[in-house]
Amino acid sequence: MIDGAAITTLLKSLKVSHVVWVPDSALGPWEQSFAEAPEITLVRVCREGEAWALAAGLHLGVKHPVVMMQTTGLFESGDALRNVLFDLGIPLFAIIGYRSFLLPDSPDTARRFAEPVLQAWQIPYHVVHDPEELPMLAEHYQYCLENDSPGVTLIAEGRM
């Protein structure tokens, strides 16, 4: 499990200004660390679709937001994602909780459809399995930033 201090330190090093989120049980424990970091503004939305458009507005205002949600939120927010990334062309980065990834026999459809959906959207992504792989998140973020590309890091999770 990746702790809040580690992810906050990482995001600060990447000069992320805002986290726009609907947390899940794996990402949620990060809240206190985000709240205590003066460099990061935590923005809670009601539904995941808002996160993409709100982050787009921040981006237009020359801020550096990261969107966070669970895979279920990814599914829900598809049209907002489509519009922001592909109509507006705003290259947002998202950290997405990969529900049930750590349970290979899980019948959870949120696990089954996560990567096919990202592939369908043609969004470059990778999976972070444990804290030792956090540097991959930084590399992916930098790659996307340098190439004006949207990107996703999936955070491997157990249950909900």
């Binding site: 939305v45 009601c46 808002e50 787009a56 507005g57 205002g61």
Partner: protein, 198 residues
């Protein structure tokens, strides 16, 4: 098809013209029916014709711009159908204590750009102003008469935010198609440049 327009409601274009005349250096984001008319009457660097949009997300986009620049006032014009698709955005604005934003909802009771089907909100006779008030909007006002809007516009836009204005307007059943005015990229670039120079 919905019933004939109610005669006491105001027309959209004159209401927009009043807004244009008093908007000063506020960002104005238009969607749906407002996006059809605003570009013909306003050519301001802080305008954003948000077409194509994800329906309902105009409010959230506006909130992001407002949060990025707390000294910059932002106005977003949404339809009632759009608002229904993103009602939570009213709560999100208040939860994040965004005061430099004005949400104007153009309530015509129909999905105008698809030919005039009645919205669920109209069928339920929803009180959008009460919803905004309950979410925490500080200034909430409803306008049905053009003269009332004209008389109050300057003051209400200067009232404490966040602000929610409900415009009850005539629905439009003819020439309802909303044409996409070309790629949005250049319009975003123009707004971004204007925001950074403010």
């Amino acid at each position: 098809m919905a019933s004939s327009p109610t005669p006491q409601r105001m027309s959209l274009v004159p209401a927009l013209e009043i807004l244009r005349d008093i908007r000063e250096d506020r960002v104005v984001i238009t969607t749906m029916s407002a996006a059809r008319h605003w570009p013909q009457i306003s050519h301001h660097a802080l305008d954003l014709n948000y077409v194509p949009s994800s329906m309902g997300q105009g409010t959230s986009l506006a909130q992001g711009i407002a949060m990025a620049s707390p000294q910059q006032e932002v106005i977003v014009l949404n339809g009632d159908g759009s608002l229904l698709m993103n009602l939570g955005s009213l709560v999100t604005i208040c939860a994040n204590q965004v005061s430099n934003i004005t949400v104007i909802v153009i309530d015509n009771g129909i999905y105008e750009v698809t030919g005039g089907q009645q919205t669920a909100g109209a069928m339920a006779n929803v009180d959008y102003a009460a919803m905004a008030r309950a979410a925490g909007f500080v200034t909430v006002a409803t306008f049905e008469q053009l003269t009332a809007w004209q008389g109050a516009a300057t003051e209400v836009l200067s009232s404490p935010g966040p602000r929610f204005l409900l415009w009850r307007v005539h629905p439009r059943y003819e020439d309802f198609h909303l044409n996409v005015p070309g790629p949005i990229g250049p319009r975003l670039d123009r707004l971004r440049e204007a925001l950074t120079s403010c």
